[in-house]
Amino acid sequence: MSAGKSNLIAGATGDWEVVIGLEVHAQISSEAKLFSGASTKFGAEPNTQVSLVDAAMPGMLPVINRECVKQAIRTGLALGAQINCYSVFDRKNYFYADLPQGYQISQFKQPIVGKGTITLDFLDGSTKEVGIERLHLEQDAGKSLHDQHPTMTYIDLNRSGVALMEIVSDPDMRSAEEAGAYLRKIRTIVRYIGSCDGNMEQGSMRADVNVSVRRPGEELGTRCEMKNINSIRFAQQAIEYEARRQIDILEDGGTIKQETRLYDSVLGETRTMRSKEEAHDYRYFPDPDLLPLEFEQSWVDELAAELPELPDDKKNRLMADLNLPSYDAGILVSEPEIATYYEVVAKGRDAKTAANWVITNLFAALNAQGKSITDSPVSPDQLGQLIDLITDDTISGRIAKDVFEVMIKTSDDPAKIVEEKGLKQITDTGAIEGMIDQIIADNPDQVTQYAGGENPKVIGWFVGQVMKASQGKANPGAVNKLLKEKLG
């Protein structure tokens, strides 16, 4: 949906506008945690990746991990945001069993990254700008395991202290679709620069979704926040449900209570987690164990210079330099691995042909096998070789599709498959002529039809017969040309 189109939701009493702001928690792809040397690998046995600091042992002190700071700066740069060379870590105080320190080290008043903007892309080629309010660094909490014992809760501290970037948007989105596009864009950006793997299933990217509704043009309504949503689809469902819930309440003459809600993906509904009255007073104050985080602008400049090409830049380049349509370019840059794959295929070849093969044939085959592009059975070099075989008339486009089917199954090189299966295109005019002569001799009726001009489409029938006789290997151009000559 583009910015120009209406996103309004029809209610019983008129139209409503939904206003959405998102807080994305993106786990930094670092070896070690934000303030300790413990490993951050996903899926380890509970409590095997816990340092003394992560377990909040008495007398332990946090020490900032420079790699995490670097990734936050790079992400800020990729979001086109202001980098603050002076920022402060604060303690956010609350009690919970999986928060061993009794506080989370976060950044409250002075975050490392300030305002920025990202551009959302939609399938129809339209775009929309969404403001980034801030990005700050914070620690993740541990995990409570409620299903291990009938009466007790177990705590796994492997995640405790893992570095998160909280990316806060402005309340600029107006539909679930826009929110989805925003989440996809953030994921694309962090994956491009490698600051987060963007894996929402494993929890390395999660979203808190703020939703309110209002009459178009009026003041912002009271918002509700849905915490910890771990898929783009769920985020969109939660927004749809929540917007409708709020509209129904308002149209019934009720008021919206500001609260934190939970999205239940099984029931497809949101419900109250805690009201504003029950909200924590986090008692933020600067963490006295840490000095303010200060670095030189020159480091920021260095990191900016080393950033890889960002998705928007790449998309623009594909459109400008390779003349790809916006739709194709948008799909090809949506994941860094797809873009990399495509660029290998397209190198020195026709860009549009390469795009078609990747978007249509390769994606269909991968989808069918449930595979991602990183474990594609066909390498980009192999796909390129296949296109080359078409270009140099070794095989026809039709045969190429068959060869591709085999490649997907065997991962063999296309030339090998063509050779072994004898699929090489017949360009020898003598051989084609022989087949044509035979077909003409066997089908006098059709020859007459053609000659009499009764049915000009009959030429197509002849082509089909030749292709059949050649098992599809005859060069279609040569067949056409020879047929016309022979049939006069």
Binding site: A56, P58, F95, Q101
Partner: protein, 494 residues
């Protein structure tokens, strides 16, 4: 012959070097003293076997010529320092049974240099107090008693440390100072106690009270001992982000005795109207001693001094309320079950923390609360900056500042128990330097009319512990404080 336990650290090191006795012999004498002094209640945990092992290792290193600068010296360790495999309590019920799997950086440095651990000594619970009466393990008695024979508190929070050293149950002890917790007990017990510049000694492995104020330091029987021990304790530690990476000088070498031409500031704001005459008289005496040694006396002003105590009692509890949140019954120490997570928290913390700790957690939680933060915490931070600037301005015209350490000699048990404010007033002279992060030392300089020790305090420029120690050495010599407590705890009058 002098008893081994009467030797200063410097003399004991000389004796060990001279093979007059071994560290094992020295340590055995101290182990016996510790066992004989239990009525003082200084030690919460005794580690005699570990001490003798360490002593034997020190003797071996001395024989091999690889002895460190503190090899063979038996120490008491404030029970706020985490010691690997040795119960560490912070004198709190809530840390019941807590035995760290790690060693604090400062104690690691001491063991690296060959020192010997006699055990862990009591403190005010979580270092919150000025009398060592808030320890879960009971009050510690001051080895010094007034002329009337009545008990006195050793001061706090490093009261166990000071009592152990004063009773010759350790050559010296580690302390920690947040608002005066090294200097005030040193003053009450007739000892030398130095709080170095914030960031000079690592806080890693020292249980936190108020992170922006806590600073480890030694309590010793002489200025030279303080210089030797501080040299071992100090140093940069990458594990403490507030530790400062600057070389550790040879502090003992700074004790030249020559302070000619040095400028000593006398802050007029410390001349409290209601201060006891004997405190003011001792201060004047200190001025005369330094003048006689060739120092120049300069009147200075630290105009925000009167805000120091209220500032401190906002900043320190605020940090403490957060630092002590980790004691929740989930991971270690005491757990008092409840029928929900919240009730388990409430039960554990209600039973685990004493009244003073509870009071400070409540104050700290209050001053950080939404709606009160700006009026209390933020304002206190601004005042803290002004107080630090006072010192910066003062040091433009002087090298050190001379003041009394505490507004009185050691008081009696329970005297301030019902009145937290009068207890907090004990820190009036020590707190400003803590807020400013500058180094301070207390030196025994005389006796009160009651026969109790009185200390003078010297404050220095950041990381200029050398000048502080040099002037302290001059004061020490001039004061010639040789009085000793009457040995009531063993009944041995010799």
């Amino acid at each position: 012959m002098t008893k081994l336990t009467d030797l200063s650290m410097a003399d004991a090191l000389a004796g060990l070097d001279n093979k007059d006795f071994t560290s094992v012999e020295l340590t055995e004498a101290y182990v016996a003293a510790v066992e004989g002094g239990t009525s003082i209640n200084a030690y919460t945990t005794q580690t005699p076997e570990k001490a003798l092992e360490m002593a034997a290792a020190a003797d071996a290193s001395r024989a091999a010529g690889t002895a460190g600068p503190m090899a063979g010296i038996p120490l008491a360790i404030k029970d706020l320092y985490c010691t690997e495999g040795v119960l560490t309590t912070a004198s709190s019920h809530i840390l019941d049974g807590f035995t760290p799997a790690y060693e604090s950086t400062v104690t690691s440095n001491l063991w690296r240099d060959g020192a010997v651990m006699l055990g862990k000594v009591s403190l005010d619970e979580f270092a919150m107090g000025s009398s060592n009466e808030t320890s879960f393990y009971g009050a510690v008695e001051n080895p010094w008693r007034a002329g009337d024979g009545k008990s006195r508190v050793p001061g706090g929070s490093s009261g166990g440390s000071a009592a152990a050293v004063a009773a010759h149950m350790a050559v010296a002890a580690t302390g920690t100072d947040t608002g005066g917790s090294i200097r005030q007990p040193a003053s009450f017990c007739g000892l030398v106690g130095i709080k170095p510049t914030y960031g000079r000694c690592s806080r890693w492995g020292v249980i936190a009270f108020a992170s922006s104020l806590d600073q480890p330091g030694p309590i010793t029987r002489s200025v030279k001992d303080a210089a030797i021990m501080l040299g071992s304790m100090a140093g940069y530690d990458a594990k403490d982000s507030t530790s400062i990476d600057t070389p550790v000088p040879d502090y003992a070498a700074a004790l030249t005795g020559d302070i000619r031409g040095l400028k000593v500031g006398i802050p007029k704001e410390y001349r409290l109207d209601d201060a006891p005459a004997e405190i003011l008289a001792l201060w004047d005496q200190g001025v005369d001693w330094l003048k006689a040694a060739g120092a120049e006396i300069i009147d200075i002003s630290l105009p925000h001094t009167k805000y120091a105590l209220p500032t401190y009692y906002i900043v320190a509890p605020a940090e403490a309320s957060s630092n002590l949140a980790r004691y929740d019954g989930v991971k270690y120490g005491l757990r008092v079950p409840g029928d929900s997570l919240d009730s388990m928290y409430a039960n554990t913390r209600a039973e685990g923390f004493g009244d003073e700790v509870t009071r400070r957690i409540l104050i700290g939680t209050y001053v950080l609360s939404a709606g009160y933060y700006d009026a209390y915490y933020l304002k206190a931070q601004k005042l803290r900056t002004l107080i630090a600037q006072d010192f910066e301005n003062a040091y433009a015209s002087c090298d050190v500042i001379l003041t009394p350490t505490a507004p009185s000699a050691a008081f009696g048990p329970g005297e301030n128990a019902d009145d937290p404010i009068s207890m907090y007033l004990n820190d009036v002279f020590t707190v400003p330097a803590s807020l400013a992060g500058v180094p301070g030392i207390s030196i025994p300089a005389g006796l009160s009319g009651d026969g109790l020790p009185l200390g003078l305090q010297l404050l220095g420029k950041p990381f200029d512990e050398e000048t502080v120690l040099r002037v302290a050495g001059v004061l020490e010599e001039a004061a010639n404080f040789t009085a000793q407590p009457n040995n009531w705890w063993t009944g041995d009058k010799s």
